[in-house]
Point group: C2
Chain length 296, copies 2
């Protein structure tokens, strides 16, 4: 089975690849050889491990994500906003040993002030715009580093990144709060309480975090309650900071199903209905749009 | 050399002990056997490792800190504020195998709403009040979990804990920001900029944190600059949340020298002069005051 081209989403912790035919996906493969685990001369072998069965004489491989970072395979320099999310002319070609590979990496986007960067999300944005041509408004991409992106006339006008997901992971597994939380379990009321607390008094965030520990010790707050409250506090302070992005705006979410549902609920509590798009579908749509532009 | 009594500061990560004579400190010892590394039946041996050379027939050992936590040697239940920082009648006696030991643990303090707890700091507060009898105002105890404490008529009226030190440690060594920071180095201007940024726009904290990474990638912000800015942002959001504690108040700092100097500088930038007391001196003064009360 030979692919007409190959789509690759290559992040810090893993690599996912799709063999694409004229009618869509032919096959899917993945590995845990993310950019974070590889030296520059190890990327080609890591890619071949997954895509070799799909190669013809010379096959186009379109990749996005941290593979194009300074510490990645080859640096694909950021494009500066305002600009379209992706541009076929800006793809970075990679020299490979194997002549069957024609690898090109999509660059990320940068913003000078407030200083900000993205890598991988620009391709999801391009895919979302391919799915909703002419959309003007805001995309929210929840995750380790959540992004809020203002789109107008097909261009990224501005964006802002929040360390919400990474803070949740660090606080719930590495900090003193780990004694008060569980890995699973949930409580909707506590999520709402944390959200409202952080939105109304964002300056108290560092004190409200420690209160989770004290609430467990003194008032028997359960571990699932503490986990939901922590999530509410952190998403709440994100929404407080991102208010100019969502207040009175048309917002669509791009992310993993469960996390997007949480953000949709948080926004609904502020009176805003936000549709959710699947992140992987957006990535594939974005790479496919790039592929179609290359053929034009 | 025999101690007339022994002072012990026993925290999560280490144990420090002082042999006390009628004229003050006779000897000092310490070990890394903190409460976090010990099971209940291992505390006595860990204590003897350090204090055995100082024991007479029966020697009073006054201890404070996490040794009295639920996961410690014996739980010394929190006393509820408002109350004096310490109370000789509330010391928790510990049953020991060795008849030479007469161990008593000072309990921490709790506050019902907003839920909060302290263990160890109450003894520093008692010491500070012994050094400044009649002080009415606010103590700030910067550290892993910084505390702000309102004192009136010799009692702790209210207090609030901020996870500032722990967040700095996690973000600077475990998060994506570790690539942008150094363990050492400093920049006063960036500290002031981060402080002012967080104080004026506390809701943007999660975005301002990620900006440190982007400033390094895009604008060549140096690692010492990023470290100072991170410190300024985190102390700034603490000052924003603790404003009712310091605005127009008389504030004294109790902490390690370098960290207290940073908080003093941050408060000075808000127009407030805060004197600094040494944390260890306060702990010893607090345990000595308890000892004097026991003899009365």
């Amino acid at each position: 089975m030979q692919a007409s081209w190959i789509a690759v989403d290559w992040g810090t912790s893993n690599l996912r690849a799709w063999a694409m035919g004229t009618d869509g996906i032919l096959a899917h493969g993945s590995s845990d050889k993310g950019m974070g685990a590889l030296k520059p001369d190890q990327f080609e072998a890591a890619l071949l491990d997954v895509v070799a069965p799909w190669l013809g004489n010379r096959t186009l491989v379109l990749a996005c994500g941290m593979v194009g970072a300074r510490q990645g395979w080859v640096e694909a320099r950021y494009r500066s906003v305002p600009c379209t999310p992706t541009d076929p002319a800006a793809l970075m070609r990679v020299q490979t040993q194997d002549p069957r590979l024609d690898v090109r990496i999509a660059p990320g986007l940068s913003q000078a002030k407030p200083a900000d960067v993205m890598r991988g999300e620009e391709t999801q944005l391009a895919g979302a715009l391919a799915l909703y041509p002419g959309f003007d408004g805001v995309f929210c991409l929840p995750g380790t580093h959540s992004k809020w992106v203002h789109i107008s006339a097909g261009e990224v006008v501005s964006f802002q990144t929040f360390m919400t997901g990474e803070m949740f992971a660090l606080l719930s597994t590495q900090s003193v709060l780990r004694h008060s939380l569980t890995a699973e379990g949930w409580d909707d009321a506590e999520f709402g309480a944390g959200l409202s607390d952080a939105l109304s008094r964002p300056e108290r965030i560092a004190a409200r975090l420690f209160s989770l520990r004290a609430e467990g010790l003194l008032h028997g707050m359960t571990a699932p309650q503490a986990r939901a409250r922590l999530s509410g506090l952190l998403i709440g302070i994100e929404l407080a900071g991102a208010k100019p992005y969502w207040l009175g705006q048309s917002v669509k979410l791009i992310g993993a199903t469960k996390l997007s549902a949480l953000y949709a609920r948080a926004l609904a509590l502020q009176g805003l209905q936000a549709e959710s798009l699947d992140a992987t579908a957006c990535t594939l749509a974005g790479l496919s749009a790039l592929h179609a532009q290359l053929k034009d």
